[in-house]
């Protein structure tokens, strides 16, 4: 009898001694060295009608991709298999695109991709009011992976970057925060957060969008935080209104003398925030050997591919200096353009210097010059886009410039109309929307979505 009693007593000891390894989770707990938080909730209002129905990270880029494919592919190529994607503005297409992360191999038993929308709480429910506020609202998500480092990314840049190299830099310097930076022309530096660093790349000064920048080293909006530093900063700044990394968190950490380092990146990086830069970045892909090369073997960009068939070029087709996506049928002529998957281009149609996104149908005898045409549009026969002289846009001069014609998704252009430059069209338009079949340069027709 005696041994049994001792045994029972031992079990009781185990049960009540909370320090015992059986009862604390300790080493068995999920552990990820670095997880990524991808901010994908932005509207990107300077992309005009392109983002009236979709979030900027879900806008198509480079024929078959969407902008968010670049940071997501960078993550998996850098060995990061746990990514939280923070969504807010128009998330439907984004959610569909990401799904469970299969294209990026982010469908994991442990980790993988998680879409994190704003949610209701028992008190103080709010939208994501700023970049840091959005991360703050997902502290529990990050905590569940018990990370050493957290990588903060934004979902609207085109670049290839090995975050592992940046993490090595972070560790070598025993940094608390590492900012990815790159040199930009001094006159443009005032659009960015500007960093002044010493020889060892330790950040001496950080200014968000300064009027008179003291350096040309711009912050790319990519940060590695040591987890305890991030958590402490987010909790201390939680009542800050519109809490933002560049405006609040970095200055806060800088003031309390955290070790902040600037990691210098020297590859291709493009902020496709305006229609002009978006158009330009697409056009750069057409160059004989593009600066941003999608054809490299060792750093693939992954995307959801639901159209896989080959493209067909008919006997009358001419395609030069262009890239063309899967399943597209071309019967007309295409020069200097980026054509997405599943597009149809009719006979005698001529397309120059344009971006045509997926599943768009373009009829016969159409002429398109310098246009950005979003997903799933229909353009009737004999229409002319990008005609006449440039005039400033009457809708928004700062958005619709560079002489571009911009069509939002699901737009319909009736047969035979003429559309000028710096124009914007969104929605199903018919003849009655046009004056004598003409939309003058600088004009707009918005029948769907918001006027941006």
């Amino acid at each position: 009898m005696l041994p049994k009693i001792i045994y029972t007593a031992k079990i009781l000891c185990y049960t009540f001694n909370t320090k015992d390894p059986i009862l604390t989770r300790g080493e068995d707990m999920i552990k990820k060295e670095m997880i990524a938080m991808l901010l994908a909730g932005g509207q990107g209002s300077r992309l005009g009608v392109l983002t009236s129905g979709v979030a900027k990270p879900a806008v198509a880029f480079g024929g078959k991709y969407r902008i968010i494919d670049f940071p997501l592919s960078n993550c998996i190529n850098s060995g990061i298999d746990t990514v939280g994607v923070l969504t807010q503005y128009q998330p439907l297409l984004l959610n569909k695109h990401i799904g469970i992360g299969i294209p990026w191999d982010l469908d994991r038993n442990n980790g993988g991709v998680t879409v994190l929308p704003p949610y209701e709480k028992s008190d103080d429910s709010q939208w994501y009011t700023g970049t840091a506020n959005a991360i703050y609202q997902n502290l529990r998500y990050m905590e569940s992976y018990n990370p050493d480092y957290v990588l903060i990314l934004s979902g609207d840049h085109i670049y290839k970057m090995d975050y592992e190299v940046m993490l090595e830099f972070h560790k070598e310097n025993h940094a608390d925060i590492t900012l990815a930076t790159m040199p930009v022309p001094l006159e443009e530096a005032s659009r960015f957060g500007v960093v002044i660093a010493d020889q060892d790349k330790k950040v001496l000064e950080f200014e968000e969008k300064p009027e008179h920048p003291g350096s040309n080293l711009a912050s790319m909006g990519i940060y590695i935080f040591s987890w305890n530093i991030l958590k402490e900063a987010l909790l201390s700044m939680k009542s800050q209104h519109n809490c933002d990394f560049g405006k609040h968190i970095i200055p806060y950490c800088h003031n309390k003398n955290d070790r902040i380092f600037a990691f210098e990146y020297d590859g291709y990086w493009k902020d496709v925030g305006t229609l002009g830069s978006y158009w330009e970045a697409n056009m750069e892909l057409i160059d004989l050997i593009p600066e941003f090369n999608l054809y490299e073997e060792y750093w693939k960009i992954y995307t959801k591919s639901d159209i896989i068939e080959p493209q067909y070029l008919s006997s009358e087709a001419v395609v030069e200096r262009s890239i063309v996506g899967e399943g597209t049928d071309i019967y007309g002529e295409v020069y200097n353009s980026v054509i997405g998957p599943g597009v149809y281009i009719g006979k005698n149609t001529i397309i120059r210097d344009s971006i045509i996104m997926r599943d768009t149908y373009i009829g016969d005898n159409v002429s398109i010059n310098k246009a950005i045409i979003a997903d799933n549009c229909k353009i009737g026969d004999d229409a002319v886009l990008g005609d006449g002289d440039e005039k400033p846009s009457r809708l928004n001069e700062k958005v619709y410039e560079f002489g571009l014609v911009t069509l939002g998704e699901d737009s319909v252009i009736p047969k035979g109309v003429k559309i000028g430059k710096n124009t914007a069209i969104s929605g199903n338009t018919d003849m009655s929307d046009y004056d004598n079949n003409v939309l003058e340069s600088g004009g707009y027709i918005i029948k769907a979505g918001e006027k941006l």
Partner: protein
């Protein structure tokens, strides 16, 4: 779905010559971005068949490599799944698969352990699009023991490599000749069969007892009058890849708008393994006419009436005519290619001429590749 699927992907075809050296026919690339077996697999998944077995033997590695993940065809499920069977040594068998019936008999446990009442058997080297539910409905309505999908071939076609069938007015098959020298009908078997699972197990067991091994000659031909065997006429596109000519012709068929519409545009779609290649790129000097171009291609010159598969690089001042260029081929400058099939992963030197005379030539070039 009330059926399970079996795809026969084991055989070799000597008439594919060099092309079948490195792969089995079901793993042959087709129409730019597909492989032969994609069509049978996609038909199965689109017909809501959840449990599919692929039986491989000749160059089985090419098939198992291609089927390394079943998620592209949506078979990665808790219910059912995709099974690949290759010959194996067990305590009571150490033979290779001696024929299609033997191959199924050696995996009879797969059949006995399932609960689906019907089995759909398809060849893995046929290009077609078909909802198997239609045949199953036909099979049930005819109270058939076996239904064979049939295809009417054009007059004058050489049918000596097919099973030739004659049916009565009620579509009952009363004559079935395998690979006859002198066919007396132009209706052939399309290599797609439906029968009850119990029936199949019984036939396979009997077949094995008698030491027979082929599903067509030892089962279908012998049972044609003993069992209720009906033919289902297939009216859509169907092609079998067994010879170099049929392979060339099938690829070229995809240059026709109606074939492309049927396979590429009409619902449901054909699925394939995703390679994550960038869009095709046309540089200055490219002049592509009546051709299929697949993603990952970079083109700098003239291409006419041809099918370019994935990741083909065409240098400057080349002429490619009436040819098929398989995956990952590099073509140097000033090269002229006409009536050829260029084997995959080849590297063609600049300033060379390849021309198929009296038919199609298969080009295999393994030069060192420097750029890209």
């Amino acid at each position: 779905m009330k059926a399970l699927g079996i795809i026969l992907a084991g055989g070799n075809s000597n008439r594919m010559k060099e092309l079948s050296k490195r792969r089995a026919v079901p793993a042959m690339p087709i129409a730019g971005s597909f492989r032969c077996i994609d069509f049978a697999l996609s038909n199965m998944t689109n017909s809501h068949i959840q449990r599919v077995a692929v039986i491989a033997q000749y160059n089985a590695g090419s098939i198992t490599r291609y089927l390394s993940s079943s998620k592209w065809w949506d078979f990665g499920r808790k219910q059912g799944g995709l099974y690949t069977f290759t010959p194996t040594i067990t305590s009571d068998n150490n033979w290779w698969y001696r024929g299609t019936a033997d191959a199924m008999y050696q995996n009879i446990e797969f059949l006995t352990r399932c609960h689906e009442p019907y089995v759909i058997i398809s060849d893995g080297d046929c290009i077609y699009k078909l909802d198997y539910n239609k045949i199953l409905d036909y099979h049930v309505s005819k109270k058939a023991d076996i239904t064979v999908v049939c295809k009417q071939m054009p007059q004058g076609e050489d049918l000596s490599r097919f099973g030739v069938i004659r049916m009565d007015d009620n579509d009952r098959i009363y004559e079935y000749e395998e690979k006859p020298m002198l066919p007396n009908s132009n209706i052939i078997s399309a290599g797609i069969y439906v029968l009850r699972r119990r029936q199949l197990i019984e036939m396979l067991e009997k077949c094995s007892e008698e030491g027979r091994s082929d599903f067509v000659t030892d089962i279908l031909v012998r049972y044609k009058n003993a069992k209720q065997m009906y033919g289902y006429m297939l009216n859509s596109y169907w092609s079998n890849i067994a010879t170099i000519d049929s392979y060339y012709k099938t690829n070229m068929d995809f240059l026709q708008a109606n074939v492309r519409k049927e396979f590429f545009k009409d619902y449901p779609k054909i699925y394939s393994k995703i390679d994550d290649l960038p869009p095709a790129k046309y540089n200055t000097g490219s002049d592509v006419r009546n051709s299929l171009i697949t993603s990952g291609c970079i083109i700098n010159s003239k291409v006419e009436n041809s099918v370019l598969f994935k990741k083909v690089f065409v240098g400057k001042n080349c002429v490619i005519k009436n040819s098929i260029i398989l995956n990952d081929v590099y073509i140097g400058d000033n090269t002229h290619i006409e009536n050829c099939i260029v084997e995959s992963k080849g590297t063609l030197k600049a300033n060379t001429l390849y021309s198929g005379e009296n038919g199609i030539t298969v080009v295999q070039e393994r030069n060192t590749r420097y750029n890209i």
